[in-house]
């Protein structure tokens, strides 16, 4: 039998029939079934849980929570420490309240400090926008919450990158690791976010820690994926050049692959930070605090205006975080 081409053609034909049958069978069988059993059959199908997966998961989570209690307590402690550390540092930057026309106006020093930074990484206009955004949120009366959101986001992004970039490197270096990691990432990205808020509360209690954990799960995949992609997209000839000059595994990684993958990795960093922010807002549902808790409170009390104000503050934080990290990868 000549070659592989013939075989592949056959497989594709079989799969075509298979797909046709799957789609056509219900259509053809529907009238037959309806005649024999009446419509109620279709109402019953699929509403009873034959496989008690929910019960199994409950038992599993309970077992994990009890068995690894010390472990989760330690993690909670570490996360809380990082978060309060960043928050304290941010709160340490003073905020002036000069009176303009007898009205006290808040002028956070952070808003001033961000101008030269954004000017450096982006443009002067971005710097001025950053100042305006922070000044605005401070005068909406949301300054403490804004700082909390910043610290939660940075904590989660920091942990996500700490785990995600090395995982991406391993996946980029080994097909086996990539094949293991990819379905896990797919699972993490497609599982509805509210679903893992529940076990997070059970394992890490209420407050910042479960919020950060849920955020890390949500924000980790792009860091892994883009690091993996960056390493895999290094031109073969460059890898060969590195090897031809006698690079070891690690030298090849640090002198050729990582520098070449830098723009892609930095895009992953940016994505991770942005996803962290969006999840941190949702994590307010389990008491993570910050601007998100303002939004949650507004929903509960039907306060349209307050909700919008908090939402706009989130947008400002988002734009500032994005502009601060977006161009880093493109700099030579």
């Amino acid at each position: 039998m000549p070659g592989k081409a013939r075989k592949r053609f056959r497989v594709s034909r079989v799969s075509t029939y298979f797909i046709l049958i799957i789609f056509l069978a219900p259509v053809m069988w529907e009238p037959v079934c309806a005649q024999e059993h009446g419509a109620e059959l279709f109402d019953k199908i699929g509403t009873q849980s034959v496989i008690p997966l929910d019960a199994w998961i409950d038992t599993g989570i309970d077992w994990i929570a009890i068995t690894f209690m010390d472990f989760f307590d330690t993690i909670t402690l570490i996360i809380t420490k990082i978060n309060t550390g960043i928050l304290t540092a941010l709160q340490f930057i003073p905020i002036y309240v000069p009176k303009i026309a007898n009205t006290p106006v808040a002028l956070p020093v952070l808003a001033v400090l961000i101008i030269p930074y954004l000017w450096w990484v982006a443009s002067l206009w971005t710097g001025l926008f950053g100042f305006a955004g922070l000044w605005f949120t401070a005068n909406l009366g949301l300054w403490p919450q804004t700082l909390e959101t910043f610290s939660l986001t940075l904590t989660a992004a920091f942990i996500a990158l700490l785990l995600g970039i090395p995982a991406g490197i391993f996946a980029g270096k080994s097909d086996l690791v990539e094949n293991i990691v990819r379905p896990i990432l797919d699972f993490m990205q497609t599982l509805p976010v509210f679903v893992y808020l529940i076990p997070a509360v059970i394992l890490f209690g209420l407050g910042a820690a479960p919020g950060v954990v849920a955020t890390v799960i949500f924000a980790l995949p792009p860091a892994v994926r883009l690091t993996n992609l960056g390493i895999r997209e290094v031109p073969g000839e460059l890898v060969e050049a590195g090897e031809a000059f006698g690079c070891t595994y690690l030298k090849l990684l640090f002198k050729v692959q990582l520098p070449m993958a830098r723009p892609s990795i930095m895009a992953g960093v940016n994505q991770t930070i942005m996803l962290s922010l969006s999840m941190v807002v949702i994590a307010a549902l389990i008491g993570a605090g910050g601007l998100g808790s303002e939004v949650v409170r507004s929903i509960q009390r039907m306060l349209v205006g307050k909700g919008f104000v908090a939402g706009i503050a989130v947008v400002f934080v988002a734009i500032i975080l994005d502009r601060s990290t977006r161009t880093i990868g493109q700099r030579q």
Binding site: E240, A241, F245, C247, K255
Partner: protein, 417 residues
Amino acid sequence: MAAIGAQHVYKIFGEKPEIALDLLEQGKSKAEVQQETGLVTGVQDVSFELDSGDLFVIMGLSGSGKSTLLRCINRLVEPTRGQIYLEIDQKRVEITSLSRKALRDVREKQIAMIFQHFALFPYRTVISNVTFGLEIQGVGKKERTRKGREVLELVGLGGWARAYPSQLSGGMQQRVGLARALANEAEVLLMDEPFSALDPLIKVNMQDELLKLREKVRRTVLFVTHDLDEALKIGDRIAIMEDGQIIQSGTPEEIIVNPRTEYVAKFVEHADASGVLTAGTIAKVLTVNSNMSVNVDTQVTGTEPKLFAEELDITYCLSEDGRPLGCIKDGKTFPIRTLGENPETVDVKDVFIAAGADIPLRQIMDIRLNTSENPIIIVSKNGVFKGIISTHEILRGLLEKGRKDIQHKDNTRESGE
């Protein structure tokens, strides 16, 4: 002892290559093996041996396995079977049986490589690219920079050390690639179609540069190309590959004059032979006889000629040991001026020119253009008369590439394809 060599090297791509090796040993072709097993033969039973300082060109079309063979030498591609060996400090080191660590050592210091698309690191400056190999070896920064500048000077990029590769043209980028390979002071250079990505004019410049560079720094070079003219121009020896095998190897002239297979002949057909064919190959050999009665003006020839050769209406007078003394045309005796290997332009109309048998056809054409209509006398290295070249021989040399024995191919087979 050879500087580098290969013995019966095979490369089979795919799983369980032993099956393919067995089939190949039974005499099956690459295509048959692929049909039966799905395994692709990259390199099949290749052996060669290079002396120190040789420039060996591996020539073939894409898919002929030439790049794979090159990568087998520093084991970027692991050979399936066979040995590759290298002479290091008068000792024979078998590359194919080295440990990973020892192999890295050889790659660091003995074998450097140059790539088709330059493979420069875009995030590094030119000097930092050039010293990459030294950096891997752990050479100190000061020493690295010194060596890097020295090599950049050598390839004519002295002023570009701080530029980035993207700021350079293609030709300049490949000079950086060349400098990077030279900086390691490796004995063997592997060049994988180094000039194929360049514009034709720059390509020719780079070939000249390479030849010039070889006079300054003598390295053993393995040069892969798909361009026959390039191979003929720069190669000391050429190996022609087809389907993973070397089907002919030899000097450029041997390949032009005696193509061993139809495949090689087809290649060679359109090659520019004028730089490869030597005067000795295309010269018309004349019979020399001793008894001839001619009127010789001994004032021109110096001594009494003892041997004579005749062609058309010209008589060539030779001394007893075969050296040309003068020519007689229309009853008049002309003197002979011998040119060395690099002839200056001659505008003298009333002399005959003698040239060495080893000078290329292109120079003969040059001489012909700048002198009289008279045939050029060809002498061997020790000055003995070999034959003559007139316009007729030059044209025939260009058209038939010196293959006097090869008949023109029968047209029926050509049209049948």
